[in-house]
Symmetry: C2
Subunit: 422 residues, 2 copies
């Protein structure tokens, strides 16, 4: 029993290393996991038989002599479905083991009035299309979703989705039901998932303490403390966008308060600062300001500086609180940050205590608009990485068969599911 | 080897439970540690033989029948020396296993100009007195110190001690050297240690996510995230006192900036708000304002409200960021908070997002001015709790003998150490 548990953990840990690194030699795996090479060989053999990894000669080692084999994830064979409900779009993707986006569907989303039913209908439709388009023999190992609001951990309930007016909507359960794959749909806040994705695969690799600021209409946050996402008592931490930075002359915020960081640096604040008309919204409008600033338009540059000054106060506060190794600007802040970096740095120089300033780096998101989607995929992979053989044995292949650990397949018709295409 | 490591961990874990709870039955220990009762019995026997715990009949069980034995820490026999360098005082104490303050020495400290040499001289003198006054046969198992500044983890180096003007002073090493006990002196920031103490033994017991605000001249912070102190990349996190809350009309702060939380709610801010003369400083002056407010003095009440309003902005920001179970007001904020609670609550109601507000509690420190000292003692106990028998076997008893695990003593004169009193 204990032996079985250790084996399961080791299989999960090995698969996680391969999933995150893309390609590792047995020797590297042995070193990272603190296990001997014969154990690594046995674990790799089991994962290979289950169809989740393969061993192959590396393409170019740059060294003479017989190269040692590397273990790679079976990215096109084992995948998850990942969903992203952002302020301006809905995305669904098939993401392969190793974090590779294999296929995607996209739709623009109107900013207000989308009810749960409509959003889930679009996403479930995309999900079925992606599933049906997967190659025969491939396996859907999980599902994960990102949502631009506050999510109750555990059951994918949207507690508060300000821009759609959602309160206590069972998004994860409903999407799982409509997908009909018999898989749970864990849901995470978009900025939390973006932080996890940047930490694992983006601008935050190698840092145990990082702050990710995700701009869309407002500003969300994901904060990694000691290698783990800060969730707090109920999973509702990281709300850095509602840090009050301008208490007495602050702009009104969507949350009902005034002077929140997102009210001072969000999309509307920037467009107003740049003198754009009040009915102009969206990412393109924002990129136009950034483009104008790049071309030397002084009023656009001033607008970015004004935003940067408030952003800098918020970031300085966060550095004093978290002493992070890196601060990452994602979402629309990825576009805004380069033109706002000067006042941000000035505020850090002015407000951050000397020793906390020593090592912090400021970076833009490496994954861009895919950060939240990739983070959602990680949610979907978490079951697989906890118990690779168990999940693969229970998973349905694209052609309606069930795999069994060990690679043998048994044909077992699944009642009530759409059959394989002719 | 592995077996030995497991035994050491189990001994440490059992001793930690007894240390934190004060008294636990074998049955309770078995349940908490997930071990069977015969293993608990064997571990308890080893710790008893080493002189760190004893088993006894509970004083009053309130139940009929033969009561089961409880395991208690040998608080008067096994102790640490704990030191606290606060803004207004120096304290040293002998703190027994279980967190009991057995004996203490205290000195007022002038606010400025104290150099390392003078501070260490006073503390080391106190330490020797406390050590000499300990009963024969008792064992000093460690040393720990609290300091009102930024500390480099690992070596007790004060990186930045603003009120004394210390920069890169080797406080821990120097104190260890002067004590001459052959023991390392780990040092922690006062608010970090206060947070740990309140989490383990005070107003934060049972919460995995808490914020501790420690007021003295300024405001320090200790933040527990997922049961662990937030330290960040270099150990310099939690600096909530330098969160900018009033960026454009803020009071000057000791850090060189303006509008920091501690500039708006610290001692000087309160005394100024209450119209006290500029040369009046210290805890007594502050308590006089609180006392006046209690007696109905409207200007003192207004001063507390004004401070409370800024404090509330800071606390609201922290709740949005950390989603804590409890916020604890310690140090001078323990005195200030009751008269400032109303505006603090109003700011929370106004700025904190609905779901994060649901469960948070606001409390004053349960340990009061001892919080930092008790936290320093925990630093001192950490070696013992990592390897109880190893540390006790190596420790010198009060009468200059060395203990050996198993309770037998061998007389072994220790060169270069002061001998036992006649």
């Amino acid at each position: 029993m204990v032996q079985e548990e250790i084996r399961r953990r080791n299989l999960g840990a090995l698969l996680r290393h391969v999933h995150l690194d893309g390609s590792l030699s047995r020797a590297a795996l042995a070193e990272r996991m603190g296990l001997n090479r014969s154990t690594i060989m046995a674990l790799t053999a089991e994962l290979t038989a289950a169809g989740s990894v393969r061993e192959e000669v590396p393409t170019d080692t740059g060294r003479a002599g017989r190269p040692s084999l590397v273990v790679r994830p079976e990215s096109t064979r084992v995948y998850v479905l990942a969903f992203d409900v952002a302020v301006d779009w809905l995305v669904a993707a098939r993401v392969g083991l190793g974090g590779v986006v294999l296929d995607r569907r996209w739709a623009a989303r109107p900013r207000a009035g989308a009810d749960l039913d409509r959003v889930v209908e679009v996403l479930a439709g995309f999900g079925r299309q992606l599933h049906d388009a997967a190659p025969p023999g491939s396996v859907c190992a999980g599902v994960g979703a990102s949502y631009c609001g506050m999510i109750r951990p555990g059951d994918g309930m949207v507690r508060f989705g300000p821009d759609m007016g959602w309160v206590d909507q069972a998004f994860g359960a409903e999407l799982g039901h409509r997908l009909g794959l018999g898989l749970p749909v864990p849901v995470g806040n978009e900025a939390h998932l973006g932080a996890v994705a940047e930490h694992q695969r983006g601008a935050g690799v190698g840092f145990q303490n990082l702050i990710y600021l995700h701009g869309d209409v407002g500003v969300g946050g994901g904060i990694i403390v000691g290698g783990k996402l800060l969730d707090g008592e109920g999973g509702y931490g990281c709300e850095l966008g509602h840090m009050v930075v301008n208490p007495y002359a602050g702009r009104p915020c969507g949350c009902g308060s005034h002077g929140c960081l997102e009210a001072e640096v969000g999309e509307r604040a920037l467009l107003d600062a740049a003198g754009r008309p009040a009915d102009l919204i969206g990412r393109d409008a924002l990129r136009a300001v950034v483009g104008d600033a790049d071309r030397g338009d002084v009023s656009a540059q001033d607008a970015l500086h004004r935003i940067g000054d408030w952003l800098g106060i918020g970031v300085a506060n966060l550095i004093n609180l978290f002493n992070p190794g890196v601060v990452i600007f994602g979402g629309m802040l990825r576009d805004v940050y380069p033109g706002a970096a000067e006042p941000v740095r000035a505020r850090i120089a002015r407000h951050v205590l000397p020793v906390a300033k020593e090592r912090v780096r400021l970076r833009t998101s490496a994954l861009g608009d895919d950060a939240t989607l990739v983070g959602a995929a990680e949610l979907g992979f978490s079951r697989l990485l906890a118990d690779p053989l168990g999940v693969l044995a229970g998973a349905e292949t694209r052609d309606g068969r069930r795999r069994r650990a060990g690679g043998r397949r048994v044909t077992r018709p699944v009642a009530g599911r759409p059959g394989p295409p002719a």
